[in-house]
Amino acid sequence: MQTPRRTRLAGTAALAALGLALAACGSDNSSSPTATGSSSTTTTDWATAQSAEAGGGMEALVAAAQKEGTLNVIALPPTWANYAEIISTFKKKYGIKVNSENPDGASADEINALKSTKGQSSAPDVVDVGNSFALSGAQDGLYAPYKVATWNDIPDGQKDTGGLWTSDYGGYISIGCNATKVGTCPKTIKELDNPAYKNMVALNGDPTESNSAFQGVWALALANGGSADDIQPGIDYVKKLNDEGIFNKTQVTPATVASGATPIVLDWDYLNVAEGTELAKKGQKWEVNDPADGLVSAYYAQAINRSAPHPAAARLWEEYLYSQDPDGGQNLWLKGYARPIELVAMQKNGSADQAAVAKVPPVTDKNPFVPTQDQVTKATATVTKNWAAAVAG
């Protein structure tokens, strides 16, 4: 589930401070990184190319990327949204080496890495971050603008107009439930409030830290009269469930799901479905429902490091991720039960892998929930302020 993205061994003050220290040290030795990549091709400086076309076309891009020979990625867990296959297919297809650093890192770790390794050959070329980090990173000038070939198939609002970041894959908050243990599984958020589910209902982590828990609270809010402007009903609902002894505070991990310690889990549907295939091997049924009364979706975003050590490979990686080919990133994400950002367009043009589509929970989402950055900031502040009191005791 989400935890592996954030597991680390110790977090003492000294360690935290060391991170700050390293971040600050790194920013001193930025030695005009944009110039380093340009020597690989005679005509194109891929570090400033804002599309494959502008740089001389796909063939030139592939050639330049192969000349660089390496791609640095960060915080891509192999078991997350099919990243293991996505990376291995890229390696095979283009013969480019992929260095995967800190696979369990969080979005904030990725941003810290961009800042602290600026200008170094080990710096991440690309990042895959949560929406708020996409926006803040763009504001901080960390990303290079780039528009992939399939740019027009990406819905407006899911991309920076200048191409600094682009949403890549995502999913809906779902209710995962161990049917073997629970019996009748809840299909909506309202159904969670049932004494039969005593000690069972868990969020995936703390909503001030884990994005899926945060969006989970928002889904609870929508089912209880909340809105993009008002996340408080979600907090109140958790308080009610907590007072009734239904809310389960155990930190959700694949181990707690397997052992039955967390029988009902609100989490992204692609993670819950993946969990289900694991449990099926052990003879347990893990049911996944996207609750109709609280449909909240969120997408991660791709961005290229402005001072990427391998600027062409970084751009080729993006073209690959947004490719609608059967072995392109969009269909491979779909195979990992995540919804690729171009899914609607792919359903229309027939390029979507139908077998994979069938495994993703069906959703009728008439009014997609897309909060603005201001609304996210406001909701974050509300949760930070009121969460602890709601789940106390």
């Binding site: 000038g141 703390d206 707690t256 005791g393």
Partner: protein, 315 residues
């Protein structure tokens, strides 16, 4: 060389050793500077700074944002770190650390006394070795060990009590693993052995002659403990309590793996520095880290003073 002759004073053999000794110390000093002093400096610096952004405009050619922001020195981070969830977390951290330090010290002392006064050398060996292992057992494995035994839905002990005695560990006995009660128990799992490790040498330092002398002078066993052993042991006991407190105060991974929403200051620092929700709150993290330092620093000073007192009798 001339300089060291003047300062050394007691002859050439000694003065020649001084620079060598310093040379030997260099790696340690470099280490302390790099992983201790520099980070503290950064915490002090960052905790009092804040950047406010007033807006951003986009360059139409490079597509990059040009930000209008201002970084000022301020007390806002400190102020925020003492509000709401951060205040609750600080209070809970202190509460959890104090409860577990005191309980751990009491049980650890009893266990250490039993072990030291045991006549079986084998038992002593086994218990100290086991204590050395369990005192360093923590993080995710420890967390899952407790989830597997005490969790409300699937814990082996929970289910056993329910099935055979009809007792609910959570409702009847009030032991909620992800809450203060449960986490205290988990912390005691590594704090009691730590106490044994720290106190066993001190207890062994009590000379049998003292007890014999007291007995010869007509003291009862109780009087001996009250007037001789307890005063001698008190400084190292209090020192050990502080050590346990600091150990619990800075612990993080175990509690996080059981309940990442539990309000602890270490978990809060992690949330602001490397979470997936809060962006750009590094300065608040530094302020929270500073709070921890402010709490632990006086304890460290007291610990040092106690250590000095301990060595008077139990060298």
């Amino acid at each position: 060389m001339t300089d060291s002759h003047e300062t050394g004073g007691t002859g050439s053999t000694r003065s020649r050793r001084v620079p060598l000794a310093w040379l030997g110390l260099t790696p340690f000093l470099a280490y302390v500077t790099l992983v201790f002093l520099v980070p503290i400096g950064f915490i002090l610096f960052e905790a009092f700074r804040r950047t406010t952004t007033t807006g951003a405009t986009r360059d139409p050619v490079t597509q990059q944002f040009v930000k209008h922001s201002e970084t000022t020195f301020t007390l806002d981070n400190i102020h925020d770190s003492l509000q709401g969830i951060y205040r609750t977390s600080l209070v809970t951290s202190v509460k959890l650390s104090a409860i577990t330090a005191i309980l751990g010290a009491i049980f650890g002392l009893l266990l250490a006394t039993a072990v030291v006064s045991s006549s079986s050398a084998f038992l002593r060996q086994v218990v100290t070795s086991a204590a050395a292992v369990t005192a360093n057992f923590g993080g995710i494995p420890l967390a899952f060990l407790f989830i597997a035994t005490l969790d409300a839905n699937s814990g082996i002990v929970t289910l056993f009590l329910q099935d055979h005695f009809g007792i609910s560990l959570q409702d009847d006995l009030g032991l909620q693993l992800p809450e203060l009660s449960g986490l205290s128990l988990v912390y005691l799992y590594f704090l009691i052995p730590l106490m044994v490790l720290v106190m066993a040498p001190a207890l062994e330092g009590l000379k049998p002659q003292w007890a014999e002398a007291a007995e010869n002078l007509g003291a009862s066993r109780w009087t001996y403990w009250r007037l001789v052993a307890a005063p001698v042991l008190l400084p190292s006991f209090l020192g050990a309590v502080l050590l346990l407190f600091c150990s619990a105060f800075s612990a993080y991974a175990t509690a996080y793996a059981i309940n990442s929403a539990f309000p602890l200051i270490t978990i809060r620092i992690d949330a602001v520095l490397s979470g997936n929700v809060l962006a750009g709150q590094g300065n608040l993290g530094a302020a929270l880290a500073l709070l921890m330092i402010v709490f632990v620093l006086p304890l460290t000073v007291i610990y040092q003073l106690l250590q000095r007192r301990t060595s008077r009798w139990l060298a």
